[in-house]
Amino acid sequence: MSAPYLHPGLPAPTPARDGLDAPFWAGLRNERLLLQRCRNCNRWQWGPEWICHRCHSFDLGFEPVPAHGVIYSYERVWHPVHPALQHQGPYLVALVEIPHADGVRLLGNLLGDPQQTVEIGSAVVGAFEHHLDADPAFTLLQWRRAPD
């Protein structure tokens, strides 16, 4: 397993106490991207809600989606605001649109050279970054440029 993209010490994500996003985090642990989909109207939504914002059904599930996306926007962070990132140097965050899930967006780090030129609209693929030493263990979904 390669080193995590960001230095260790940031707050570890845990499922929401009310369980709303628990299937998402469990899915990442198993290297699957599970996003919320309405069983009534079959449309996707993200972040998770207790109700479908389109048809108002409460019958929502989490279904697998290929971790393939397109960069909708990005930022290169230079000024750290958490002690864990004090010596990180610049890092890239991408906002990734998932065309296979009605274009919902996920946020993650763009792997590779933090000084690389980033093109809005370019294709990316997901990379599961496991933090097995964390308590509780968790997995992040990171992104890298899709092979040409």
Binding site: P11, S73, E75, L107
Partner: protein
């Protein structure tokens, strides 16, 4: 039934404390808030015991009922918190106060905000907890935790879509610093900003360099709002509310950066209702205060309020166009959040009132219509338009 605030409320008093750099107030936050309220009452020539309504925003810690008790207010009739963070309520709290006095819920409502970050911690710091859940769990582990980091991607996309040049952002920052040089209250008074000073500053998060980002400050500010028909009883030239609106477009608060119209400041619907209520358009606005959390938010907010077309921003946003007294649209004429003080935008609302009175540090001649835009990129956002008696 008249379902408009137009001409039904007025600001009759404004007050503020000394403004401090973040963490350097010698006073507790609650005391700062009380002091600003006293100044606003003094400005209006009334006793603080006459205040019967309290309206704030951004989860202000100094809640109205406690303020009313501390001030010995004779009766509390209106106690109101505008939902949402940042400066989204900088005009929203005024909207609520205006609605309260227009409808007879209260007679004299104070709009206020107090901040002492030494006492309560800074906004621009990441969370110290070992675990995180909810929406933040989907952003913080990727290093996205400050306001600058939350909003940069909106501006990045807007700049990409409309080929915005950095000179447009620079003009916004320089206008604030330019105006602050005439304002002794401003934190950045005596510290002008040059083009190279802006260009050479370090990156915070692309596309924001240091001077694209607001300060964080300690202090407090307050405005007194009464029904319009009572405005003549107070010593200053009345400043009438022509419109105040708030909210956000469809699903603007969708979690984890899923706002449908992402590359925006969230004023798409608020601005239209604002002008409709005021019965005027952007070309009739004489002077503008537009909340700078980040320069890019100002740019998008001004586009959404119709001051220029998205394709024209590089021509419109120049220092000359944005400075008092003679610019095309003088902007943030007391120094704004960037250079006067970051009081979650309430300082901008006060400056909008001063421009109607003609008493600001950089008065624009013959102001009849003065506008304030609060809290771009959050949800809800808000905006208000003030007018002189001639506009009624």
């Amino acid at each position: 039934m008249d379902r408009s605030l137009r001409g039904r409320a007025a600001v009759v008093g404004v007050g503020q404390t000394t403004y401090y750099r973040h963490g350097s107030s010698p006073h507790a936050e609650a005391r700062l808030a009380l002091e600003a309220i006293l100044h606003a009452c003094e400005d209006a020539g009334i006793s603080p015991t006459q205040v019967d309504g309290f309206s704030s925003y951004s989860n202000d810690r100094n809640d109205g009922p406690r303020m009313a008790a501390a001030l010995g207010c004779r009766e509390l009739r209106f106690s109101n918190m505008f939902w949402g963070g940042g400066g989204g309520g900088a005009a929203g709290a005024l909207q609520n106060a205006a609605a309260a006095v227009a409808c007879g819920l209260a007679d004299c409502v104070v709009v206020y905000r107090g901040l002492a970050q030494g006492q309560f911690g800074r906004f621009g710091r990441g969370p110290a907890a070992p675990h995180i859940s909810g929406e933040a769990a989907h952003t913080v582990p990727y290093g996205v935790m400050s306001a600058a980091q939350m909003f940069a991607m909106k501006v990045m996309r807007f700049m990409h879509d409309h080929q915005v040049e950095r000179s447009a952002l620079r003009a916004i920052a320089m206008a604030s610093y330019h105006h602050a040089q005439q304002n002794p209250l401003a934190i950045m008074h005596g510290r002008p900003l040059s083009e190279s000073g802006y260009d050479d500053a370090r990156w915070i998060v692309e596309p924001f360099r240091l001077y694209d980002c607001c300060q964080e400050n300690d202090g407090a500010a307050a405005l007194l709002v009464v029904a319009a028909d009572a405005a003549g009883d107070y010593p200053h030239k009345p400043c009438y509310v022509l419109a105040a609106t708030s909210g956000g477009p469809y699903r603007a608060a969708a979690p984890v950066h899923n706002t449908p119209d992402y590359a925006s400041s969230h004023f798409q619907t608020v601005a239209g209702r604002l002008y409709a209520m005021a019965g005027l358009g952007p070309s009739e606005v004489d002077v503008l205060q537009s909340y700078e959390n980040f320069t890019g938010g100002v740019l998008m907010a001004m586009v959404e309020h119709g001051f220029c077309h998205p394709q024209e921003v590089n021509d419109f946003f120049t220092l000359g166009n944005l400075t008092a007294p003679a610019g095309r649209l003088p902007l943030n004429t007391s120094g704004g959040n960037l250079a006067e003080c970051y009081m979650h935008g309430l300082g901008l609302t006060i400056e909008a009132v001063r421009q109607i009175r003609g008493t600001g540090p950089n008065p624009v001649p013959d102001v009849e219509v003065s506008m304030m835009i609060g809290g771009p990129m959050v949800t809800p956002v808000s905006a208000c338009i003030f007018g002189s008696a001639a506009t009624l």
